[in-house]
Symmetry: C2
Subunit: 465 residues, 2 copies
């Protein structure tokens, strides 16, 4: 087993870890990155189909306000291109396809009013949260003792049955979990970091651009610059720390460092053995921030045939096992790539089918919206994030009730020489790639401050010696 | 690394695993038990103090209806003795100690009425649940979308502020977690298995007896009978299973078996790597059943001096950092042993203090109730279950909102050759040692049925061949 020394060890080479390592290297520090998987990117992943088509199967889109991601693309020479938004979107309800344009499907004024009312109520509540300490809000305890699901099902909050169905479906999508699993305070904390739920639920804002070559190519280039500092297939098992330093033991390599940044999803961080053990608040927080369920399927066709039918590829079918589709055709316009999803309870149901049956159900759902052509893709690729050992679910971890108010203060608080990064710990764009990058840079900044004040102390000691 | 063959491998030598192994051995099967710790008993643990006094630091008491535990004590030659119940209990409120007898402290008729009303409402709701499938109850979705904490804080449910405080404190104790973390359906599921919350909250019913030598001595004797079948310090890392058998890999030993019973707390079961991966429902269930926080302190005195003061040793101080104490003096009457607890948010607060400070605060809390003598124990022993690697918290795992309705069906459902046991999966006496034993025996029965039907099939094959 190899042993190396470094100023800082970063655990995890997703966007949070890569961004942290990049910043530390830029500041002149020796950095070692330990990654459990055999690739970088974490929940951002390019997969290659048998025919050579490469598809981004995790975090994929960039949008408004995601300044750090756009900046990184520029710095690393990656072009971005706008999401295909021409033609009509489809809403499938009660066996009928309705075409529409813009953010919201065709709906009556009552539904629209109820949706507007619910969004503005949620927005007002979210705005009242301190971004870096939502657990300190005046109503924090009350909101953390109730679920988003219960809030949404109350006609006083959403005074229209159609709006309740639509909102519920949207929240299933956003958290990849039953809204009954999500704390109202936890949901508002997510909304707070994007300036309101409207940000997350409007694909024109969150999903306006794609990275040429896929967002995972950005991770690959960041890792390329870090070079041999990045060690793949090195899951970290143990972190021992004391006043003099920290020792990070992985299957292949042990790193001795002055500081460590743990940049994995919280649930995985909680499976590392810490010596001395973490405080109860920290360990119980990491246990509780659990991911939802998501299965994503890429179907490939010679051309994006739906475009010729005047369709954008974006569809919404709340009661379908595949409630969402979106066009993910590369910038060149060929081949046609459709990305479709099952979330939450739908993903659980789909997960119970055997593979052949699941493919059959899946393609039938696409054919209902796009016609018989959709049923005969040249390629079909499933990505079930729950079966990924180093993700355990997707897209992000959510906060169950009682978590933020009881354990939230441990979310970013360093423990001795251990610092924390992950999109779940971001105060801005929480849950997105942008949040991951920001959390990594925030953790790097903490470490830089600690190391320089350490140096300062060392200098003082030398002077007094 | 050793390799062995067995009919059945049992993972975990707590009461669930030991009871399962015992039953399988009695039925004539080859069994191997793999236990992560260097001792058996799991969350039932005898600790020895420097002066030689042995104290039970985990599951300790037996009570009404716990037939299997009493039966096992008889079978293994262990006496039980009644909990010391003479003298007055103490309720400390607003700086004043009130003496009382019976289940409920002194309280006004309004408080009593409100408590009675709340308990009977909870009882009615619990009774409406199918014991083996609470997620199928008519109101399951609605109850699983709200928290116990929210229910308790509603004056319509508990129409007295004093009763709300008392109930809230009781539930903190029962789940070792903020009731805001616990699903109402999850809480009712616990109540269902004991015939109502009244069972769990009345110490005269759940804590009427102690085992002479401690309940852990029962586990030790069960393990003794299993002999070399039990392998300590063998944490299981991986379970691979297919149509032909199952391979269980621990740090020290690999077992090849026809069936495996995973008899660990759910959260620990979820950290085993399964090949093929578990279904999303099963893996997400195991992620979500998280334990609370509990610190238990044993203080030892030459004699149980409180008895001479006319006190039972049982005290309740809802606002104290140490809200509960109970007499745990051995049957011989000497030395005097007091067991005291911090739970939930209180345990988090106590966990943040340094050890000397914590001891100071703890003993001051005891002295407020028992006088200056309590401040000078001859022995002081802390057990913080959250820092125990193979427990991760205590006393039991609870169900957060949305867990039972979305993933509950995976709670006992075998996955191929994998069967599940744990007190959390018990339908009767869930959360108690009794529940653990019953869950282990239920899993053993599943395995016996599977093995004998397997034999039956083999016989049929021979005949037709």
């Amino acid at each position: 087993m190899g042993k190396v020394q470094a100023d800082v060890c970063v655990v995890g080479a997703g966007f949070a870890g890569l961004a942290a390592a990049r910043r530390l290297v830029q500041a002149g520090h020796e950095v070692v990155v330990l990654e459990a998987r055999d690739r970088v990117g974490g929940r951002v992943w390019n997969r290659e189909l048998p025919d050579g088509t490469v598809v981004s199967a995790g975090g994929t889109w960039l949008g408004k306000g995601q300044d750090r991601m756009f900046q990184l693309c520029r710095e690393l020479g990656l072009a971005v291109y706008p999401q295909y938004e021409q033609g009509d979107h489809l809403l499938r309800l009660d066996g009928v396809n309705h075409r529409y344009r813009g953010a919201f499907p065709v709906m009556g004024p009552g539904t629209l009013f109820a949706l507007g009312l619910a969004f503005s109520r949620l927005h007002l509540m979210a705005r009242s949260l301190p971004a870096d300490a939502p657990w300190r809000a005046r109503s924090a305890r009350a909101w953390d003792a109730r679920t988003l699901g219960q809030w949404l099902s109350d006609p006083l909050n959403v005074p229209s049955a159609a709006a309740r169905t639509l909102l519920r479906s949207t929240m299933h999508l956003l958290f990849c979990a039953d809204p009954a699993e999500v704390s109202l305070l936890g949901a508002l904390t997510l909304a707070r970091g994007g300036g309101g739920f409207g940000y997350y639920t409007d694909s024109r804002r969150t999903e306006s651009h794609l990275v040429d070559g896929g967002a995972p190519e950005l991770a690959r280039r960041m890792a390329e610059q870090l070079g041999e500092r990045v060690h793949l297939s090195s899951p970290v098992q143990r972190i021992a720390h004391d006043g003099t330093g920290v020792r990070i033991a992985s299957a292949s390599l042990t790193v001795r460092a002055r500081r460590v940044i743990v940049a994995t999803p919280p649930l995985l961080a909680g499976r590392i053995s810490f010596d001395p053990p973490l405080s109860t608040a920290a360990s119980h927080l990491l246990q509780r921030v659990v991911p939802g369920s998501i299965i994503r399927v890429h179907t490939v066709y010679p051309r994006p045939f739906w475009r010729a039918l005047g369709l954008s590829g974006q569809t919404l079918a709340p009661r379908s096992p595949v409630p969402i589709t979106i066009d993910q055709t590369p910038q060149s316009g060929e081949p046609g790539v459709l990305s479709s999803y099952a979330f939450s309870t739908g993903a659980l149901r789909m997960g119970r089918l055997d593979p052949a049956e699941r493919r059959e159900v899946w393609l039938a759902a696409l054919a209902e919206r796009f016609g018989a052509q959709a049923r005969r893709p040249s390629q079909y690729l499933e990505t079930d994030w729950s079966s990924q050992q180093w993700s355990l679910g997707g897209m992000i971890g959510h906060f169950p009730t009682g978590t933020l108010t009881n354990y939230g203060s441990a979310l970013r608080e360093p423990v001795g020489r251990i610092h924390w990064a992950s999109t779940e710990s971001a105060t801005l764009m929480h849950g997105l790639m942008e949040g991951a990058v920001r959390s990594g840079e925030r953790a790097a900044q903490e470490v830089l401050t600690a190391l320089s004040s350490g140096r300062h102390v060392a200098v003082l000691h030398e002077r007094s010696a």
